[in-house]
Subunit: 439 residues, 2 copies
């Protein structure tokens, strides 16, 4: 079996592509823990080369490690494992493909590339007797991919709810705890380094959609295009929404949700009202959590830090340790990297969001005109929307009155039709906003 790598060599050599926050921490962990890791493996781990963009920067590490040539690392026959931390760019995909073709195993934290190219990378790895692991791509330090793929592998995962973007959760938590505006909290988060200068990917849910697509693959063996994941951000959430959630026993979280029931398959990311009694409601700040429901294991939750240099690097290095065992025991492929056989990994389209049946929170912005309520509720009734709570909030600074409705179970198609009609009315001052409710 041992036709490629020299197994007499007691050192596992690493090529590191990218040396940002995570890359530096990976290097540090491998240096700091040599003695500890010797208790876990017979084989030492050694970084051989590091690919960076700018060779001139002083990184306090011997120059001999660095190169700007990722191809030479990916192809290096002395290297056993290529760690890809280049971010979402074509070179990252190219480097992984090149490494696998050269029978070098890959560890990556790249959610965007795994969400788009997982299956082809798995097949490339398999064809070349190499392996690919990507625990760090979802929820940082939380061992969620491994738990779904291995620890829960006897189960069908019926539903999964994830707080999988720390920036969005930090902002919503601050808004909840301090009653502050979205804009003010975002600005503060940017100043403190919790949000990036361009926060779009985090606050608009795109980052969470990538992660959800990966989670759906591991949960259900379905390849979901990120473009098919319904995705809404948190930018429209106002303090009044948070107060109304609180008043009726809910908390607002940006959730990635996937559910399966026979042919019915959901994959969506949006701000969601969840019951205060739900453990996810207590997951605050930059923490991530994944709540799941299985056919045998029942429900459970995994909770921890979803981002940050050291936590993400710890996930990367844990993958490396697994690969060291695997490479050194001459094992070809142990578990399928998705938990499913490649031929069982099939493309699937989630239901159209219009076909979602859910409870809804609706925030109308109205001015005080005659018969507002009766005109509105007539349209709601005509569209099969039945109201559970109706609450009129005090007027805000521009004399707009937020009128709040919690519906019973409703088809989103009906909600949208009703809102199209209502939003044309003369008493509506701003586009009506909705928040989906999960019990």
């Amino acid at each position: 079996m041992c036709d490629v790598k020299d197994m007499t060599n007691k050192v596992t050599k690493i090529g590191l592509l990218g040396f940002g926050t995570v890359g530096r921490e990976v290097f540090r962990i491998l240096e700091e823990q040599k003695e500890y890791f010797a208790r876990k493996m017979e084989y030492a781990i050694e970084v051989k080369s590091i690919c960076v963009k700018d060779m001139s920067k002083d990184r306090g590490i011997a120059k001999k490690y660095f190169t700007t040539d990722y191809e030479s690392i990916a192809k290096d026959p002395e290297i056993d494992i290529v760690i890809e931390l280049m971010g979402d760019c074509p070179e990252a995909l190219e480097a992984m493909q090149l490494a696998l073709k050269n029978k070098n195993s890959v560890v990556t934290a790249n959610k965007a590339i795994m969400a788009r190219h997982a299956k082809e990378l798995f097949e490339l790895a398999y064809a070349n007797g190499a392996e690919i692991l990507f625990e760090a791509s979802v929820a940082g330090a939380i061992p969620v991919l491994r738990s779904i793929r291995e620890g829960l592998s006897a189960n069908q995962i019926q539903s999964l709810y994830g707080i999988i973007n720390g920036t969005a959760n930090y902002i919503l938590t601050k808004m909840t705890q301090e009653g502050a505006d979205y804009e003010a909290v975002l600005k503060e988060a940017q100043e403190k380094g919790y949000a990036e200068a361009d926060p779009t990917a985090d606050v608009m849910g795109h980052d969470a959609a990538y992660k959800l697509s990966i989670l759906a693959m591991l949960c259900h063996g379905k390849i979901v295009s990120v473009d098919d994941v319904f995705c809404r951000g948190i930018h429209y959430i106002k303090p009044v929404d948070i107060q109304m959630a609180e008043k009726f026993g809910y908390v607002i979280k940006l959730l990635g949700i996937t559910k399966i029931n026979g042919e019915h398959f959901e994959a969506r990311v949006h701000p969601t009202m969840i019951n205060k009694a739900n453990p996810l409601a207590h997951v605050d700040g930059a923490y991530n959590a994944i709540e799941y429901k299985c056919n045998y294991a029942g429900d459970g939750m995994l909770y921890g830090l979803g981002a940050g240099g050291a936590p993400t690097a710890a996930a990367v290095v844990s993958d490396v340790i697994e690969l060291v065992h695997s490479i050194r025991s001459e094992n070809k492929i142990n578990l399928q990297p998705s938990g499913f056989l490649s031929q069982s990994l099939v493309p699937a389209k989630p239901i159209d969001i219009q076909d979602l049946k859910s409870r809804y929170y609706i925030r109308f912005s109205v001015t005080d005109k005659p018969n507002v309520l009766s005109r509105m509720t007539t349209i709601l009734g005509k569209n099969n929307i039945s109201v559970q709570h109706l609450y009129q909030h005090g007027a805000d600074e521009d004399q707009t009155i937020p009128l709040i409705i919690f519906t019973h179970d409703t088809l989103e198609r009906d909600i949208r039709q009703a809102l199209r009609e209502i939003d044309k009315m003369d008493f509506i001052t701003q586009t009506t906003k909705i928040i989906r409710i999960e019990e």
Copy 2:
């Protein structure tokens, strides 16, 4: 490499030892999920034989499966994986040893045997090119062993707090929610089947101590004798303790705790007051949870069902699936079953509980005599115990007055010395009780 098992055979054969609640569910999952598992593995899983005590019982399953002879199953060369669910008895250990000696891999849910014999079983497995997995032995459906061994393997786990006994947690939760007496709740739990007729192992912490010993092995690579795990049950907790906890912002949970800091190593099981803000404080009823703190991944928690037929069976079958991959890929040993090399798994003694430094809740039971407080506090002061809160609760039915003290950080040795002196006083009506506090 393939000198033992016939790899051309596309079926993995299982021998099942024990057919109680968990065994029956294992059989059911393997039957029900044939189609689903075919998406995960190229190899079918088939139960070949089941060992039971009583052959005459009608189990609604063909007689051909059953035998009373566990040895024949353990030694059967046609069998690939022996699932041991016999409970804590000498035959269970014997069967596992026999299976491993015959190069049959083992999956077990046996916490008592794993706590006592893990290292010798690991070495036996290794020597025979077989494997042993035991995810179901701790916290049922929660993939905690795998998470520590693999997902967090780059980390040193500095502390771990576990709610790892569902019965004790159910009782404490009911006492907290309903203000009920221990005895009344225990009786109700027994009637509902949440507690066994003899609840000793659960309520006295012995079950949790076995699990903690296994967790400590996976966290630190230390073999801890269960006899060295300090262990106290929940039987002495009274409603007044729960009220006092509540009043000062705490919740009482039976925790398994292990901590490590250089040479300082703790492993203990006892009722503990934890802050209401701690995620563990919200883990109610029959749920289990494990909270950990790592040097790189930071802190996290795994939460789910800790017992029950289907959840435990799901953990067993997940181990089976991992072994199917491993056996069929001709891999000898992939990960060390503890995450540590056998020679690094060293016996270790936790600190004497007397050397514990902690905050303490102390419940004195006193009668109204002159100078009670001054006599008591003089002894406390003499023993270096400084009081943070002192609270006198109303007299209970037998005119005993609970006098409650929360201490600052104190050595348990000093607490014990002080209580020995105070409990001799004429104003003390019952032995003083303590609850350790973790922040």
